[in-house]
Symmetry: C2
């Protein structure tokens, strides 16, 4: 990594990133959530998911974005819940969401049917789900309702890079009191670049002004203060997505050296659904789905989450009493 | 407008914009749709909706985007259908869709209920819609099914700017045979800028290379060949969105002068849901929603579509026999 940008020594974000008005309120929610579940003997994972929006204008018409449907974060949340984690899901507005993501490509109205006067067992019109159109919907709905009723999933949304940075900092501080029982699973696709407010035009850039030159500064690396200052006892996983396989592992190792966190999950854009490498300071494990597994609907996130939850348990045991 | 970019005299798009593999197939679908409905005495509108994605890398991780949920296009489609139009809905993948857009902010699983063994009137588990959670769902579902059964809505998707440009050209050529009975309602938020393939790095731009400089070229203006060459008899509406009210009307008039089409719908980002100006070469009509109307759920698109369908009828009458 080059210089990590203009983050001050105390880990304050530069004034370029406006503080979202609800950040303190959300921080209290997250701290309460973590304390409650930790007291009940649960581990807590903060998952970040989806891309960040980087405005090019103050009154934003145009923005820079990162490729990310939020699929990895949303599916991972389900597997963490299955293993008994309480989950804070910090995700991009309108990115994929746990459980509902299974039906994201389907037009809602194509999957509903009107039924009227069902033999006296209900009055008026009933709208019923076509269970062919939404496969496994009864089963998924049951699982979703169990999670919801138990309050195991806390949802927090961001859209812009500024919102993401401030909410991640707030989350780190909110989870810090539970120490090693907190996992950070940083799967969001965060922009490396932004335009400082001072360089940003107020109004929509006019095409009549001719071709466009954009100069972007580097976003401060949050991992550094997160690991050092905000949640120093937590178990932290970052993701490294590259398109060029030849530089992937070197980049992953370099990130571990720089930030001193526990795990990098490294993956290549084209093969990310069937292949990742889980890299730690001492180990390097390839997780691979066979074609047969993929065709049965097995998801690589199931493997990633299993691997990491074992490592997290060991980490907690090692840090017991610290 | 400045120079309209590298569109050749015959309206061919530059090689920078890769041709989507399905464009010829979609063109046939659109032509068949238009011919069938025109033969049945219907007018046809092509609506474009949502923003365009402009890749910064060949194997795309980052892209430039335009603010647009697709709300205007999706709601307008419903009002056009109500007035008897057949609608081709050329929209950004995952942008808002007619009818389903009414439930877009709602978590599907929060609006479903499991009901088992409903007093003998159905076997097994039934998943039923909570009609409090999805207001008017029975009514909306009925309207959707009428439209679907009558084949009045043809959906075509794009994601990137290249796909949009090629599909719009194909649509214009497909609708050209029905002459003045075709309306083009160009509500999509199309990027004015792009990065030529030749200037684009293949792999993900590395943040370790330091701050980012982006040089973007201007996108060829499609309105010019659309009006002159591809569908010269059609009724064409473009949209002009600005953030600065002081330049809005001058920009709208300049677009009409430059492209010689029929209507510009001009609007300001902050007030776009309650105020637009419908600008033609000879007229300028303000459409405004009162606070009371807005609180009753009246939508400005209802007014826009009413206004334009009247103008379109007059346009057809004037062009009869041409």
């Amino acid at each position: 990594m080059a210089d990590s940008g203009p983050l001050s020594a105390d880990g304050n974000l530069p004034a370029d990133f406006a503080v979202p008005s609800h950040v303190e309120e959300v921080k209290v929610q997250m701290a309460t959530f973590a304390a409650r579940h930790s007291a009940a003997g649960r581990v807590v994972v903060l998952i970040t998911s989806g891309g960040t929006k980087v405005p090019l204008e103050s009154r934003t018409v145009r923005f820079l974005d990162n490729f990310s449907s939020g699929r990895r974060g949303a599916s991972s949340a389900e597997y963490f819940l299955e293993l008994g984690y309480a989950v804070i899901f910090l995700h991009r507005h309108r990115s994929l969401y746990p459980f509902t993501r299974l039906y994201s490509g389907i037009n809602l109205l194509d999957s509903l049917q009107l039924e009227s006067g069902m033999g006296g067992c209900s009055s008026g019109q009933v709208v019923v789900v076509d269970q062919q159109a939404l496969p496994n919907i009864a089963k998924v709905l049951k699982r979703y309702q169990v999670v919801k009723d138990a309050g195991l999933l806390l949802s927090v949304e961001f859209s812009t890079l500024s919102e993401y940075l401030h909410l991640l900092k707030a989350a780190a501080q909110a989870l810090s009191p539970i120490g090693s029982k907190a996992m950070f699973y940083l799967a969001a696709a965060v922009s490396d670049f932004y335009i400082p407010v001072s360089d940003m035009p107020e109004h929509k850039i006019q095409s009549s002004d001719g071709p466009l030159q954009i100069s972007m500064k580097m976003v401060p690396k949050m991992l550094s203060p997160l690991v050092k200052d905000w949640a120093p006892q937590a178990f932290v996983i970052s993701f490294k997505l590259e398109t060029d396989p030849s530089i992937l592992l070197e980049r992953a190792r370099r990130a571990l050296d720089t930030y001193r966190h526990q795990v990098v999950v490294a993956n290549i854009l084209d093969t990310r659904r069937g292949y990742v490498v889980v890299v730690t300071p001492d180990t390097q494990v390839e997780l691979v789905l066979t074609d047969e597994e993929a065709s049965r609907g097995v998801e690589i996130e199931d493997r990633i989450v299993s691997n990491l939850s074992v490592a997290h348990s060991q980490f907690i045991a090692q840090n017991q009493g610290m």
